[in-house]
Symmetry: C2
């Protein structure tokens, strides 16, 4: 029996998942949320399936100690590599960001050519292609790893000639193939959305899975009768943040994404879970 | 009683330390070496002192299970944050890359103005300044964190207009201050040495601590009577590589630094140590 007033658990390799957290805060504002960012072991995007699955499993164990009623894997690489395994292991509903992103992309395309940009891990898993093809097997999916986008976003170069130049190199082949829809398949990428949009041109729809993930989560909680019954009260600690490493850089960057009490994030030893 | 025929242990957050390993292979070619790269948790450069120390301690425990006769902390951030602690905890000689780098820099400068470029962790520890001032308190030390150099080097953009542009931004203030010596205070930086040299100009001496670290190691082994007595024999596994994550990216990048059997690196679960 799951407690509908329990918090939702959200996790990411670091702070990128805060872009998903933010959408959840907007779309289902009565919910309590426990966020975990694996800042000691970030990034996941260039690590193996085994490692990402092991790390994700430890985090799920941690979230279970907080009695979460549902789990959101707010990291594309972890969704790509670990979600299938995790689904078998947990009792509560668990969703990733990839399936919702794939769904919107299929709805958005008109010419049947969808581009996906993401980390090396997500791209090599080919998971976006798998989900997109399940929804419409006639769609063409062109995937491109963009490993420098995360460090550039983390350095705050959201609008910068260097980011323009790197984006041009990564995206040229997607432009040449004439895609009309582009999935921002890494939670950091919405931060450089303006640059990507400028390079791709106005005819290309940019899909941000964060928004759709929050929508899917809301729908799922409704279906399972798990939406919170009452507004959280003052002193209820509606949003709690946990990290595996409390670096200054994390705090600065987290505060540039979301303004809610990140400075009070608690550090835990994730390897113990 | 330390066995002088035992291997030397070398570790880094990832593959950057292979630049130090390479120098050891050149300068003391009879020695056996066990290398560990913490590829599951790389990078260390933007993580806290507590986390870097914990990770480094686990790695030292692992190296001790391989009965190493000496340990080289081939990572500037780990040397900066963890070496003082580790020295108290291990019986065998342990050296980092910072002190040797500081020494050469002091010997090299003529105008008494030394620049240090490194990760955010190394710079915020101010360890280069501390060691340099211990050697000569009249030297001025100007430190600058260059967080994008590691991802750019890992993407192979060693000679590229983007790396030029980023280097120009980081280094301008060091040029303005008129330093005559620049420490490459991160094991990745020798890979972009050419770019850094071009921006700094011919009058500036670039110091690569890897070379000096191997020299110091050799001297230390001599002093302690720990140099290996005989040449390793065929089938002796002179060089052994261990990693915490066996990603494809690691293999590709490692092979671009060093050519010796990296493909046969063994993966271990470092969290167990």
């Amino acid at each position: 029996m799951i407690d509908r007033n329990a918090p939702i658990g959200v996790f990411d390799s670091g702070v990128g998942g805060l872009t998903v957290m933010k959408e959840i805060m907007h779309q289902i504002p009565s919910e309590k949320v426990v966020y975990f960012g694996d800042t000691a072991r970030v990034p996941y995007g260039n690590k193996s399936k085994e490692t990402v699955t092991k790390f994700s499993r430890q985090i799920v164990h941690f979230l279970q100690t907080r009695n979460v009623k549902a789990i959101v894997v707010a990291c594309n690489t972890a969704s790509a590599y670990a979600l299938d395994e995790l689904e078998k292991e947990v009792e509560v509903p668990i969703i990733g960001v990839v399936k919702p992103g794939a769904k919107v992309a299929v709805e958005a395309t008109r010419n049947g050519k969808i581009g996906v940009i993401a980390t090396e891990g997500t791209i090599s898993s080919a998971i976006y292609e798998r989900y997109i093809k399940e929804l419409n097997k006639n769609v063409n999916v062109i995937e491109k790893a963009c490993p420098l986008f995360v460090p550039l976003a983390e350095e705050g170069l959201w609008r910068d000639p260097v980011t323009d130049e790197i984006a041009r190199r990564y995206l040229t082949e997607l432009i040449d193939i004439d895609i009309d829809t582009l999935v921002l398949g890494c939670t950091h990428y919405p931060l450089i959305r303006e640059t990507v949009g400028k390079i791709m041109g106005e005819g290309v729809t940019l899909v941000n899975p964060a928004y759709e993930t929050a929508r899917e989560l809301k729908k799922l909680l409704e279906q399972e009768n798990l939406l919170r019954e009452k507004e959280p009260e003052l002193g209820d600690n509606q949003y709690q943040f946990f990290v595996s490493d409390a670096s200054e850089k994390f705090k600065r960057f987290a505060n540039s994404i979301i303004k809610y009490g990140i400075l009070s994030a608690k550090t835990i030893n994730i390897e113990e879970y």
